[in-house]
């Protein structure tokens, strides 16, 4: 928490002490404390019922074999041993990690580049224009974007190949060839989501204190140096936040590949979530699907943990 919060908290303690001088105030304070716990408790209960319990159930289910129709059968770690020898599921995790890394790296780099470029615009309306442009796709629903991007990137009849041919370039097998399908998927996801990181970075860059920038200018730091030595270190907490959020989202990628390619060609874009969906909701192997979900959960937690550990060295807090 920031220093400002600390002072405010101590200020609130100050005022509690003020009230405490009133007769009967002690009881009032205790009542308020109970009330405070209740207010938080509501949120805790809600989150527990709908997310924590399901995750625990998921963990439990991953040790059972269950097809919904017959009662669950305890199978021990069989689901997990099967998982680690199941080529298709393992490949879906490989696909997920490749796509997630591609998406996060591109999204952070592009978001930072765009934020820095837009932030140097002097006119208010050009800033607003670019901000809206990069933010618009984020407002469209993923399903709608996936469907019309699927049309645009269609290898035979798509708009993009049509114009490539018009200017004398050969058609690109966008979603047909496994490698290009993965690249196309990354591009489309980043196209839609970069607005989020972009807005975060613009907000971060705007809040870089001007006295620091002036001091740098007086000391003769050029544009590049100011950017890499001052601005980026100062907004590094924002970069960490954006990276962590983008990574968690990218690891759960489902909508775009499911709608555009159904995980194909072959299994080139079958992400772990798609594999889980197919195993559970299509093949009715709920125990095995839970095992996939738990493995995904563990991998996401590990990756997030690594990011926070790396942040200890890289992130600069004021």
């Amino acid at each position: 928490m920031s220093a400002a919060t600390e002072t405010r908290v101590s200020a609130s303690r100050e005022s509690t002490r003020l009230i405490a001088r009133r007769p009967g105030a002690r009881r009032a304070i205790r009542r308020e404390a109970v009330f405070g716990y209740l207010m938080i408790g509501l949120a805790v209960a809600f989150v527990t019922v709908f997310t924590l319990i399901p995750i625990l159930v998921s963990l439990g289910l991953s040790f059972f074999s269950w097809d919904v129709i017959t009662p669950p059968q305890f199978v021990g770690i069989k689901n997990f041993t099967r998982l680690f020898s199941d080529g298709q599921v393992l490949s879906s995790f490989g696909v997920t990690i490749v796509l997630a890394i591609g998406i996060v790296v591109l999204q952070i780099a592009l978001g930072l580049l765009l934020a820095v470029l837009v932030n140097t615009r002097k006119h208010k309306w050009t800033k607003a224009l670019f901000r809206t442009t990069f933010y618009l796709p984020l407002l469209a629903s993923t399903a709608a974007v996936s469907i019309f991007m699927g049309y645009l990137f269609d290898a035979k009849f798509g708009l993009i190949n049509y114009y490539l041919n018009e200017i004398g370039l050969p058609s690109v097998p966008w979603l047909v060839n496994p490698t290009t399908a993965q690249i196309t998927m990354i591009l489309i996801v980043v196209w839609q989501q970069v607005g989020f990181t972009f807005v975060l970075f613009v907000a971060g860059l705007t809040s870089v204190p001007t006295d620091v920038l002036e001091a740098a200018a007086i000391d003769g730091a050029g544009a590049w140096r100011t950017l890499f030595r001052i601005k980026i270190p100062l907004i590094s907490p924002t970069i960490l936040f954006a990276t962590v959020v983008a990574m968690i989202n990218a690891m759960q990628l489902f909508d775009q590949p499911f709608i555009m390619t159904k995980g194909g060609p072959g299994t080139a874009t079958t992400t772990a979530t798609i594999a889980m969906y197919q195993t559970g909701f299509q093949n009715l192997q709920f125990g095995y699907a839970s095992a996939i979900a738990i493995l995904l959960l563990v991998i996401i937690l590990i990756i997030t943990g690594i990011q926070f550990l790396a942040a200890r060295k890289l992130v600069f807090y004021q």
């Binding site: 404390a33 470029l117 907000a203 100011t226 889980m276």
Partner: protein
Amino acid sequence: MKLSSPSGRGLKIVSNTVLVIIGLCFLLPLLWLLVASFDGTANLTLKLPAPFTIDNFTSVLTPSLAFGPLWNSVVISFGCAIITIVIAVLAAYPLSRYRMRINKPFMYGILFGTCLPITAMMVPVYNLFVSLNLLDSIWGTVLFMAATSLPMAIWMMKNFMDSVPITLEEAAWTDGSSMMSTLTRIVVPLMRPGLAVVFIFVFVQAWGNFFIPFVLLLSPNNMPASVSIYQFFGQYGAVAYGKLAAFSLIYSVPVLALYVVTSRFLGGGSALAGAVKG
């Protein structure tokens, strides 16, 4: 970045070119969407609508195709956002104003909660919904979506609340105002921009969410627009570009309107500042 150094002019040209090219990559697909929606014979080329027509809109705007799903989307997103806001405000207030033993572990718990993948819960949630008879119930879906958006909402809400000065509340306390009335009469009105940001954040996420309603809802009557657009245009291979474009535009209008309204009084970028403070 100061661009007045000797190499400044070259740098400026490069940066302008890059910005314009990337900007075009973002705008052209949207432009195609706009143009195609008014084109009677829309195909996959970017051209001015040959027969300019609003037929695409009129043929899409039917009860079963647009109104029903859009209404469901409104109910789901609005319900989800309202429930989330109320619970988040209640939880954020003690977290922001009182020094309690559970504050720190709770905030870490919240951070952890935002990291949990929703997909990992879908299988047991599906089974939970089956056993509670909530499957295919819009309100069940709303409750679940509200629960998944709560951690992030509480996190943002607490940070917004921290930036509301405490002096006014102290005055209210010394005047004998209770905690609840201080919250509803002083804090909530003071943090309206923050409330708006969290509301929009949750609303937009719920509006575009595909996976949760896709799994938890079954009957076409209950489907929000995000799923129905997939079922109509994605699955049956109906290559109806103009109609798809028209539907996508109609579908995006509410969210666009929200964005315009909020960026007016929030100034765009600062909108998400509450999420990164701290």
